[in-house]
């Protein structure tokens, strides 16, 4: 996982699938007021732990943007409205 901060924006590029291990890592590095910008160009899939993580960000009103979203997540994100 590669990341850097730009003001309040936390830019993260995952170096593999968006799974539980990477969710744990994201929880570790994210600060309360960060806006997450997550690049998924290297992720072939996004598992339920990751979907749960994103959905909870939405529920808590946290800002995030996803880049290069895998097809399966596009369907899920439409369904969950994020």
């Amino acid at each position: 996982m590669r990341w850097h901060r730009s003001g309040r924006e936390l830019w993260v590029e995952l170096l593999g699938d968006f799974n539980y291990e990477r969710v744990l890592k994201l929880r570790e590095i994210m600060k309360e007021n960060d806006t997450l910008i997550l690049n998924l160009q290297n992720s072939s899939f996004v598992d339920t732990e990751a979907v749960d993580f994103l959905y909870n960000l939405k529920l808590r009103g946290r800002e995030f943007r996803l880049l290069n979203i895998p097809d399966l997540l596009i369907k899920v994100s439409k369904f969950l409205d994020f």
């Binding site: 593999g16 699938d17 799974n19 539980y20 291990e21 072939s44 899939f45 598992d47 339920t48």
Partner: protein, 296 residues
């Protein structure tokens, strides 16, 4: 094509295991998209096992993959869920696995996560199976002793059973028997590919030898697509074998009846079961063990 992964329940091991499953899928002939879908399934399964089956400490579990070489398709998953608690069994059930057998004493006694006192006996497992290719019907020879329970196990997997009639012919003089022994685990499996007139003598000799060399449990697998299996059951019961269950597609993609012969006693109160089918199987195993004990 078959592969077995023995894994520790640690988060960093999920991804390499998922990658292995993906490459297995590709080698077995899946397209890239199908392999990614398979990898996602494996990721979900493994993450649940790591998160929920062993919440406090690191545990070990086995993931088995099987694909037919002819059709290069995955045909089923089976899980060996320990019965010290029901968490692994619940995870299997969540993914549609159905219980088909109870194997007593598969693993040596060990300190178990979340259990402070000694467990006090070898660890038994439930075989949970998931067909990946829908099987509508099984035409098999069901021994009369296990006609009802085997039918129930098949039906629980959504498979219609046709019990074929055995034409009584003379058994061949010699049996064809394969033995595989796992000395570190103290278990052995006898696969009876063909039952002959010498079956009782050969199995008896093997079991005695195994029990005297440190093996604690012997499982015997009988093919349900062979007519003489009906008669072989009687022979093995006379040697003290009891029911274990159905082991679908276990050898050469065929269904087998599994029997088991144990050393010592098991306290069934310590065997925690989740599915109704597993409980039914355990009841049958316990009853037969009591019968064997009374005959001694």
């Amino acid at each position: 094509m078959k592969a077995q992964l023995i894994l520790e329940s640690r988060v960093p091991l999920i991804e390499p295991a998922v990658e292995f499953v993906k490459s297995f899928g590709l080698k077995a002939g899946l397209t890239k998209e199908e392999a990614v879908e398979l990898a996602l399934c494996a990721d979900e399964l493994l993450t649940d096992v790591v998160r929920f089956a062993f919440p406090e400490e690191v545990g070990k579990f086995v993931l088995t993959l099987e694909a037919t070489p002819s059709q290069v398709e995955l045909i089923g998953f089976f899980g060996e869920a320990i019965t010290v608690h029901t968490i692994s069994q619940r995870v299997n059930a969540k993914f549609g696995f159905k219980s088909t057998a109870l194997m007593l004493g598969t693993f040596p006694e060990a300190r178990i996560v979340g259990i402070r006192e000694d467990y006090g006996q070898r660890i038994s497992v439930v075989i949970d199976f998931l067909h990946l290719i829908k099987k509508e019907k099984a035409e098999v020879y069901l021994p009369k002793e296990y006609l009802k329970i085997l039918k129930e196990i098949y039906q629980n997997m959504g498979i219609e059973v046709v019990n074929k009639r055995e034409k009584r012919t003379e058994l061949p003089k010699t049996s064809k028997v394969e033995l595989s022994v796992n000395f570190p685990m103290g278990t052995a499996v006898i696969v009876v590919e063909r039952s002959g007139q010498d079956l009782k003598e050969r199995v008896d000799r093997k079991v005695k030898k195994l029990f005297s060399s440190g093996v604690e449990v012997v499982y015997a697998d009988l093919p349900l697509d062979r007519a003489e299996t009906k008669r072989a059951v009687k022979v093995l019961r006379e040697l003290g074998f009891v029911f274990s269950g159905l082991v679908p597609l276990f050898h050469r993609e065929r269904d087998y009846l599994r029997l088991q012969k144990i050393k010592g006693n098991y306290d069934f109160k310590k065997i925690e079961l989740y599915s109704e089918m597993a409980k039914k199987i355990a009841k049958r195993v316990k009853r037969e063990l009591n019968e064997v004990a009374q005959e001694r």
